[in-house]
Amino acid sequence: MTDLSSDTPTSFAAHARANRRELERRYPLVFAGDPLGRTLTIATVLGIAGLLVFGFWYLEFEPMKMWLGLGKLGDFVRFMIPPSTGTWSKFLIYLDALGETVAIAFLGTLLGAILAAPFGFLAARNVMARRFVQFTTRRFLDSVRGVDELIWALIWINVVGLGPFSGVLAITVTMFGAFGKLYSEAIEAIDEKASEGVISTGGNAIHRIRYGIIPQVLPVIAGQVLYYFESNTRSATIIGIVGAGGIGLHLAEQIRTLEYQHVSALILMILVAVATIDYFSSRLRFAIIGKSQVAV
């Protein structure tokens, strides 16, 4: 048997290669591999790659088209610099639309958060003892979330007409679905000791919710509402594309009429607005839940 540690001057790798047969004999399991696992891995990789190739073919990715498109995109980006709104009056119009966007996001998030509160309790397993009600509420919230914001916007336009109000309602409905689920999850994750304490002193279900559950979930919920305010400002910018108010309408119009500099100015304005809201909402979030607990 060769002593593997004897000649240290040569490199470890070279030594290992030279003594490969010996190593194989000593540690058969390391070299045997796992034929089933290997086949499975290869099959998965082939499947993933195959689907990708099929996707490229099905969606008509042609090299020539891509090349021409990239060229055009390069022109587009070149024309975008420097960002400019042309006149100051145009800038003020955009600024007004941006304010509208932020207002849509704010109202939609807040209304959704308020409306979702009772449903959060109904969908929580540890509050709603009737499994049927709990299950149905969950599925209801799921299907509300399954329909995209933009689709809700289109539906609300048919109800209240074009304009930012339909955008507010669209975000409200989407947030209602999202918050309902988040609330119920937060409620299911609470520490039950506080509730037991309330019950043991003779409190009823309402007391339990008010003193045993709400104090625990309120900071979590407040953090999530603030986070979604920022994320909804982003979605509110696109809601205008279908006519539901805000800056998206201008953005879509300027892109379609090829006013490149206006486009980049609008994108810049959106970025600044989102960054500002992100800054303030995360500071508020830290103030509410404390820095250490924030995951996002």
Binding site: L59, G69, G99, D148, I151, V159, P164, V242
Partner: protein, 293 residues
């Protein structure tokens, strides 16, 4: 055994009680100020967003009637009396649904691939060049802040109508979002294997390949699957701006009041999204379970 609760003399008790009252009042004042700010913000936002409560209440009945109307055919009969007529375009719609899924799939794949490479560049523990790390990080931030539909609008101008701009828009957004999540996973790895492999004189690429990648792969896959789920929803509305998928038919049906078509397409989308959610959830649990064992 009789027990009595000791009670402090009044003179000693009074300042304590006052301090308690003051603290309570301060807290209440704080809450009141918060509520007042919120109400003011609410009214300002309501004014800016042209909220018309009166008109809304007057027309609120239109919402349920609109939803109900979606379930009636042009002939006036309920859709449930003639399923064949309701889903008359199912062959075409299913084809578009497949297109939507493929847009989401290829977009997620391309974005995840780019995010995979970039995540090692921007993670604080593996990155070796600070300026590269910061600039790539800012770039990814830009990619995820600009909504994908905006990218799609721009790409439609450059690449023409069809699924290609949709795929690219989703890929760019996915790269931004996954890049961040991936880099957070990388930042949480166990550094001992990295040290071990660095000690053998390995290059940066070898360190990443043999020390970092094996640790992060299952988490990466899980995040990518979650992103795929989100992207299926995103791809469903890409058609709104002409970037392929079922959205084109949906927006046309809504705008032209083809009511039964709207409900049929919506049901197809919801069912597809739910099936994908279920599938990816199981896959993700399998992936994360394998890692734990």
């Amino acid at each position: 055994m009789a027990s009595t609760v000791a009670r402090l003399p009044d003179a000693q008790l009074e300042p304590l009680a006052r301090a308690y009252k003051d603290a309570l009042a301060a807290k209440q004042r704080q809450i009141l100020i918060g509520i007042a700010t919120l109400v003011v913000a609410l009214f300002v936002a309501g004014y800016m967003a042209e909220v018309r409560i009166g008109e809304f209440l007057r027309h609120i009945d239109r919402f349920p009637t609109y939803i109900v109307r979606l379930f009636f055919l042009d002939t006036g009969a309920s859709v449930f009396t003639d399923i064949g007529e309701w889903f008359w375009g199912w062959k075409h719609w299913l084809k578009l649904l497949v297109e939507t899924m493929l847009i989401a799939y290829t977009g997620t794949f391309l974005g995840a691939l780019a995010a995979f490479v970039l995540s090692f560049v921007i993670s604080a523990n593996l990155s070796r060049t600070a300026w590269l790390r910061i600039s790539v990080k800012r770039f990814l931030e830009f990619c995820r802040t600009v909504p994908e539909l905006v990218f799609a609008l721009i790409f439609v101008v450059a690449f023409g109508l069809g699924p290609v701009p949709g795929v690219l828009a989703i890929a760019i957004h996915t790269m931004g979002a996954l890049g961040k999540q991936f880099s957070e996973v990388v930042e949480n790895i166990d550094m001992k294997p990295v040290e071990g492999i660095t000690a053998t004189g390995a290059t940066w690429w070898e360190t990443v390949r043999f020390a970092a990648v094996p640790q992060v792969l299952s988490n990466f896959a899980s995040y990518a699957l979650l992103r795929f789920e989100i992207n299926v929803r995103g791809a469903a509305v890409m058609g709104f701006v002409g970037a392929g998928g079922i959205g084109q038919d949906l927006i046309e049906a809504i705008r032209k009041f083809y009511n039964s078509d709207v409900s049929a397409i919506l049901i197809l989308i919801i069912v597809a999204v739910m099936l994908i959610d279920l599938g990816t959830e199981r896959l993700r649990h399998a992936l994360l379970g394998k890692e734990r064992s």
